[in-house]
Symmetry: C2
């Protein structure tokens, strides 16, 4: 009788962070592709673009002028999804009416920031030096510190800081100038809330941290490890949804950037550079993705804080080449996440590639 073969037979894997499954159909990678292709933009960008609203010294849409910054620079988003100044909303629907049973509504306040990673218009994370990358990490961590101070002092109602980067046109990014965002909210967003809930449950059941255990297991098995250093490891998670998705985790229990020392910051810069270099080298392209940090909320119970574990998700859409992406559509939206190659196959491809030499600098 035939043996079950993960690279040939359909199976689903459980994602304990999000409490969802992903369907893996590895044989399906063989089907021909006649659908949409991404356009590969020849990116031959100047250091400075007079029309870019993120370049130093330029005027933004709202009339504000950027200072002549020479390192990572944070400013408030001109089109924020949330604001601090808005009236309160009281949901006073009686719980026994249809509305009360079916509609739950909350006002959301907060503040949105744009983080220019570099003054140089034509850089991206993998092309920045470790020193420059450390400035980005400093910016993320000082943002966390400052907003937490405001929340602790009751000056602002902040609960969660979501730091993220949309990179590339395929990921809805409208400006190639290297930048990320940070949305600070008076609620804990759904995805983070679900993760924290599942991590807490795991802690109660096992008296150990889900991601601590997971780091140990992946370092033992090695198969899905893409890159690691003293403080961090990046893997294609067992339950990856996107073809080349990775999960970057701290090796020890760091709840947020507040637990980082200088070595942690340098190591995060190092692993970010290596991981994004590998990504770009995969299809010799400026590899698009959305990535972001999950860490302890700014305000939460001790229990939730303890359950938190610093990690970053990278969700890149490309599947076969610089132009063919994975579509998470019909079955994925209505049924279940679905992927065509196994996590182990994706990890093997990323392992082979250089994390030190970027294809642009060869």
């Amino acid at each position: 009788t035939q043996q079950f073969d993960f690279t040939n037979h359909s199976h689903r894997r459980f994602n304990p962070l999000s409490n969802t499954y992903v369907l893996c159909s590895p044989h399906r990678a063989k089907r021909p592709w006649q659908g949409a292709r991404e356009e590969v933009k020849k990116l031959n960008l100047p250091h400075y673009d007079p029309k870019c609203y993120l370049c130093p010294g330029n005027i933004r849409a709202t009339g504000d002028v950027n200072p002549k910054f020479d390192s990572t620079y944070i400013f408030p988003n001109d089109y924020p999804a949330v604001k601090l100044e808005q009236p309160d909303y009281i949901d006073d629907e009686p719980k026994d009416t249809l509305r009360g049973k079916l509609f739950k509504t909350q006002a959301v306040k907060g503040k949105c920031f744009v983080i220019c990673f570099s003054p140089k218009h034509n850089l991206t994370l993998p092309l920045m030096s470790i020193k420059e990358l450390t400035k980005v990490i400093d910016a993320w961590s000082s943002l966390y510190d400052n907003l937490k101070k405001e929340a602790d002092a009751d000056i602002a109602p902040y609960k969660y800081l979501q730091i993220f980067e949309n990179k590339g046109f395929a990921m809805g990014c409208s400006n190639p100038h290297p930048h990320g965002q940070a949305w600070c909210l008076d609620i804990v967003p759904t995805e983070v809330d679900h993760e924290l809930h599942n991590m807490q449950e795991y802690y109660h059941e096992n008296h150990s941290h889900m991601l601590g255990d997971y780091v140990r297991l992946e370092l033992e098995e090695k198969e899905r490890v893409v890159v690691e250093n003293d403080s961090f490891v990046a893997v294609v998670p067992y339950w990856a949804l996107w073809p080349f998705e990775t999960l970057l985790m701290s090796k020890e229990h760091l709840r947020s950037t507040q637990d980082f020392n200088e070595k942690h910051k340098l190591d995060l810069a190092d692993i970010l550079k290596k991981l994004t270099t590998k990504y770009d080298n995969l299809f010799n392209t400026f590899f698009p993705y959305s990535m972001g940090i999950h860490q302890a909320p700014l305000q939460c119970s001790e229990e939730v804080k303890n359950a938190s574990w610093f990690h970053m998700h990278f969700y890149p859409p490309l599947l076969r080449s610089a132009t063919v992406k994975k579509f998470c559509v019909g079955f994925e939206m209505l049924g279940e996440a679905q992927r065509d190659l196994t996590s182990e196959q994706a990890a093997a491809k990323l392992q082979e590639l250089s994390g030190d030499v970027h294809f642009m600098t060869k």
Copy 2:
């Protein structure tokens, strides 16, 4: 003091079907768009395309030849995500090892079908007649009946039939020939499983059906109703995620197409034609979307069957025009679904449009 205004102030709305929130930032629709635009393909297609593998009489990639079908036609997918023939997999990881705690894996068997809605290469649902659309609904329902018979007789291990359509290149569809898919699996996919769980909980708490209550509420309030007839209603749900998302529900308790009579079938054909005509008229384009049916599993407990309520989700990506879509990226992937206009604003736009006269036939 200022009043809270849903069209101006950020808030989040709870989706009781999926147990997630969506952040609504209505003022954000004002921001300028400099990002990616979808290409609008001039669709001047012939009735018959000799190179299309879905047209009657043509040869498919695997060498099979399509019959000269003259109505809706179902055949097995040549590149199925799941198959019936594969070895079993036994997850025998001891529960006290790291692997046992963190990795849950299941084999998945099943069968995938392609459903050609029409022999005519250049039609789409809104351009088909009610008579032709009824054939599509007959195909969906006979597929359900036949697969359920096989499952009931223990000939096949089927648990759930996911029927869906990816329409347009933006939704990963690789062939404009009007067609949908059906994946029949020996598991209940994550999204359906979560919905059924939440609907069951609602039923326990309220002794009434979540979607039955919801239909009543929407018919009372009218504001979010896009189109209705005797048997069905389509609304932009209070908790819509995609800009012009709709939820189409049966008015009475139909658990699956097995509960349909002839009048239900005609009424479903009617509302599908009207809804998709409105969609196309919104931006005078062949409006892309992924849509699909959620109904009772093929095999389940009486409790789950009772909790089921026939409904269809339409997830269209477009936001402002035929070329500008909503990107569900960084914050949406890592934090929470986010939208820029309220459900009520989207519904108002869809209400205005004709559901009877398609822009192509004017």
